[in-house]
Symmetry: C2
Subunit: 196 residues, 2 copies
Amino acid sequence: MDKQPVDPYRLLRKYFSDRMPISDEDLNYFCSKYRLKRTKRNQVLLNAGEVNPYMYFVNTGCLRVYMLDQSGREATRFLVTENRFGTAFPSFILQEPSMAYIQSLEPSELLYINFTDFRELTDNFPEWQRVYLRNIEMDYIASIKRIESLITMSAKDRYNLLLENDPGMIQKLPSKIIADYLGISQETLSRLKSKK
Amino acid sequence: MDKQPVDPYRLLRKYFSDRMPISDEDLNYFCSKYRLKRTKRNQVLLNAGEVNPYMYFVNTGCLRVYMLDQSGREATRFLVTENRFGTAFPSFILQEPSMAYIQSLEPSELLYINFTDFRELTDNFPEWQRVYLRNIEMDYIASIKRIESLITMSAKDRYNLLLENDPGMIQKLPSKIIADYLGISQETLSRLKSKK
């Protein structure tokens, strides 16, 4: 028997219908605004200096949003894992050149939507506006907590917090990326890992 | 002739009616959820470890949200100036103990609303939900840009950015607070100021 092909909109439909009451008609309309893209390992989706046209939903794989610091070293801002939305947010919302790069860390399957369509959906569907608002509140809180943890916590505390909140990330991603994300050296990271 | 007393809800009413269509009835309902508080210079409104019950709207004066770093030094997270909303956001939204303190830097006149009433208004008035969403998007972007500027910019560039975006802040506030906010020493700040 032939294997049924997997619908690339399966996860996205579930994402919406799990979080709000939505008719099949509206669900189809929402999905019609998203296009499919498959990427290779380390493929760059956005360069700094470009205006970021898309919000991404990650079906499979992982996106990394990063910048270059004053000495040209890559500094990871955050990672977008499966079944989540993410993008270089300031450039997307303000439609101005990005400070950040977007890269797919592994071969990934993505759904993406442009800014005009994104705004049309959030402005015209109050239920979705509420879900999106809750997401942005949580993203804003995560960014505040990241600043707080960088100011108030030791490298060891930051590592333990990540281990607690997202253990999969530590297993899945190269230690260079994790060290970078925690703002510590790879040597410090391997010392912390061996102590567990 | 007697001087007419100033309505403490004047600015708040204008804030809402400038940003969305709203009936007088709804405007009165919104304002009925806010209470008035007058504070002294350096009065602490929230201590770290407490659950933050209120969102503040600043009529006059200025609020500072700050934390203690690993060595017990105060690190300013941000400032809430006149005609703006602000609070220790993670603790308010998650209703969990705060990492941050809130203090009024000068004698201030504040309007405040509790979490339940705040959620009731955002959930039941789609126009206000949209205004609040835009505010949170901008606050989130400001926090991302702050992380970006700390990672990618020199002290001089950060100072110039603040001078460009909020020149009043530099004139109005003590240089200790400004230096703290920029993540630089007071000596570096006075060197930067004298070069302008």
